[in-house]
């Protein structure tokens, strides 16, 4: 989602914010949900939903988190927006440690960091009008706008392709795509710097999904937004992302720029994931080489030791069961956590999971 190098509208002499500057950085980010039992509610274990993530997000880019259901994507998003308190680790936003800021200190920050929620149906209060929903951030943050909140809200509605007349209508009067636009308008109210978008298009039909994807791209260009995009649809992710992190059972197993990840994936799980996606191309029918993973994802309550993927990995050796592979840079801008990675630079011809 980056603009072309030569932006015809750029004003000479005005320095654009350099892409590549770090906006957000995360080290050892961890969230364990305690499991309590019995009368005394004693802790008997923990869901290791997110377990030691390290990554950075650069200003102006779209950084995506992908992985299968339950791998910890939404939890990560809620940690970044501080809707959840991390169990361990650090979140640095614009150079400031926000990992454990209390509600009062978080308040000004909520303007800068916003979240679009996974479910366009559940995340809008059905008893509130569109005007009230989209205007809520102004009220919550006590923001005065020129011409009043109503005018500001109507401008936002137009911005996301709705009509100002929708101001007094209720969410149930809108289609899924329109509701997602309402959610996006609310997110944009306070001109955030970072938007964490949790599956913003997953519930939408493909033709409407394309409308919303294009809208998100336009808004990013217009307002210099940085996106952390959470998604499980690997085709959408390829289209929208600059960089992608692949998660498995609460850990990041690979991070790379879009082309690196899709053309030369290094982690066996990434290969398996990419090869599983059906390709809409009749010439590839029956020719797609598919890595068949056995069984289901193990439980995050009791994840396998060392490499968490070893119970399903076809390359697993003894060391994979005893020594946890660290997330290492194996090529420029390309990190993977595996003892026996694929597609190493200087190795054999690249294995492209998505190519014929």
């Amino acid at each position: 989602m980056t603009t072309a190098d030569t932006d015809p509208t750029a004003v000479p002499g005005v320095v654009e914010p350099e892409m590549g500057e770090e906006l957000l950085s995360v080290t050892n980010l961890t969230k364990h949900f305690p499991i309590r039992r019995g009368l005394l509610q004693r802790q008997v274990g923990a869901v290791q939903a997110v377990d030691g993530l390290d990554f950075t997000v650069k200003k102006g880019e779209t950084f995506s988190l992908v992985g299968e259901s339950g791998c910890g994507k939404t939890t990560t998003g809620r940690l970044l927006t501080r809707l959840l308190e991390p169990t361990d680790g650090k979140i640095i936003f614009e150079g400031r440690d926000i990992s454990h800021l209390g509600d009062g200190k978080m308040r000004p920050l909520r303007r800068d960091v916003q979240m679009i929620f996974q479910d366009p149906y559940g995340s809008l209060n059905p008893r509130h009008t569109v005007g009230k929903i989209v205007g809520a951030p102004f009220r919550l943050q006590n923001v005065k706008t020129e011409g009043g909140t109503k005018k500001a809200v109507q401008e936002l509605l137009e911005l996301v392709g709705l009509s100002p007349e929708h101001y007094n209508r209720y969410p149930h009067e809108f289609s899924g795509g329109q509701r997602q636009r309402i959610g996006i308008a609310r997110t944009l109210a306070l001109r955030p710097k970072l938007i964490v978008a949790d599956e913003p298009v997953s519930a939408l039909d493909v033709s409407i999904q394309a409308q919303v994807v294009n809208l998100l791209e336009d808004l990013q260009d217009e307002f210099d937004l940085t996106y952390v995009m959470i998604a499980h649809d690997l085709s959408v992710v390829r289209h929208v992302s600059d960089r992608v992190a692949v998660m498995y059972l609460g850990k990041i197993v690979e991070i790379a720029d879009r082309v690196g990840l899709y053309e030369t994936p290094m982690h066996p799980y990434t290969l398996a994931l990419l090869s599983a996606v059906p390709i809409p191309d009749t010439k590839r029918r029956g020719k797609q080489e598919r890595i068949r993973l056995q069984g289901d994802v193990p439980s995050p309550i009791d994840p396998p030791p060392a490499c968490r993927f070893h119970t399903r990995c076809w390359k697993a050796q003894d060391i994979c069961k005893t020594v946890e592979p660290p997330l290492l840079q194996l090529a420029p801008g390309h990190q993977a956590a595996c003892h026996f990675p694929e597609n190493q630079p200087g190795g054999e011809a690249p294995k492209k999971a998505t190519a014929s």
Partner: protein
């Protein structure tokens, strides 16, 4: 309209629901045929009538408020004019269905094994012990680990993927001639989806059944279907082989679907090309071509798009299109406007 002798022939099927808001024309004149050993993919956006089509074929709308007309010939027998009881006896043995949500097809209070055993014994006069052995074989066949133990588990004790597999085991336990899979993998992760699609393909080869796979995922149909029917507002707007639909699509709506679709297999530098607007309500379907308010080419027909409903016509070798554009116009638009941007 359809060739005689096909195993399944659907002729001018209409399923309408009277409601307080008006008549919902969920399926409004659908015709197609399907042979054993073949897979038909039905694609379309939500609300286009895909599920109502499959439930109508299965006779699951009988007795309700639905008004069903037309013919559904299964091996020559018309299911629309048959009684609910007659159709019920065909379910399981002659035809079976897999749903998007396995919990809707399984009873929460009975074990998975019990449900497969009961389904099997409806059509096979065997003892419980023999049926149980068959149930274990089926669970094994669909890739459930330790089937002899898992047969006694309850549906909620299975993961989503295992439940889907158990439902497939149940649907296939009597070796049906026709299998309808309605969004069988929509709720599943891609790696599990790949396992289930492999399973459907393998079982079809083994049993030589006719399969209808309903989905909104164009990748799934490209991989599995021999023929594809694209639905819009309760009607088929294009029908053809998978190659017809993906390599030489002829209907503006099909172009719109392909233009909206991000690609996993290549860098796509162009923006996505969405279809403008939203699908119509099936109570108030636009007159003429139902797609006309969203179509970029509706103005090329001197008003025909707004007034006359285009019929699904054969444009050669079984490729059918319902659009007023002339073949020459369509060819030109496809070559110059659409294809280069996909």
């Amino acid at each position: 309209m359809t060739e005689p002798n096909s195993f399944l022939e659907v002729r001018d099927l209409r399923t309408h629901f009277p409601t307080d808001d008006g008549l919902v024309k969920s399926v409004d004149g659908l015709s197609f045929s399907l042979d054993r050993g073949k897979t038909l993919g039905i694609v379309g956006e939500s609300g286009s009538g895909k599920s109502v089509t499959s439930l109508s074929i299965m006779g699951l709308h009988k007795g309700g408020s639905a008004r069903i007309s037309g013919e559904v010939l299964l091996d020559g027998q018309d299911l629309v004019s048959s009684s609910a009881e007659e159709v019920r006896l065909l379910r399981g043995k002659r035809m079976a269905m897999i749903f998007q949500d396995p919990l809707s097809a399984m009873h929460p209070y009975y074990t998975v094994g019990h449900q497969i055993i009961e389904a099997y014994r409806v059509h096979n006069k065997v003892t419980k012990a023999v049926a149980k052995k068959h149930a274990i074989e089926m669970l094994d066949r669909v890739g459930i680990p330790q089937p002899d133990k898992r047969v006694d588990a309850y549906p909620h004790q299975f993961s989503g993927g295992m439940r889907q597999r158990a439902m497939i085991a149940m649907a296939l336990s009597c070796d049906p001639d026709l299998l309808i899979a309605d969004e069988p993998t929509t709720a599943l992760d891609v790696t599990v989806q790949a396992q289930i699609l492999d399973l459907i393909r393998d079982l079809q080869r083994e049993f030589n059944s006719a399969v209808i796979i309903i989905t909104h995922d164009l990748g799934v149909v490209a991989e599995l279907a021999d023929d594809i029917q694209v639905m819009y507002a309760g009607r088929a707007i294009e029908y053809g082989t998978a190659e017809d639909i993906f390599d030489r699509p002829q209907h503006p709506y099909t172009w719109g679907l392909l233009g909206s679709m991000p690609r996993i297999d290549r860098e796509r530098t162009e923006r996505l090309i969405p279809i403008k607007g939203t699908p119509p309500s099936l109570i108030n379907v636009p007159s003429g071509c139902a797609f006309n308010p969203r179509c970029n080419y509706a103005s090329l027909n001197e008003g025909a798009s707004e007034t006359e409903r285009p019929e699904l016509l054969d444009i050669g070798a079984g490729h059918k299109v319902a659009c007023h554009l002339s073949p020459g116009q369509r060819q030109k638009i496809w070559e110059t406007d659409i294809k280069p941007k996909l």
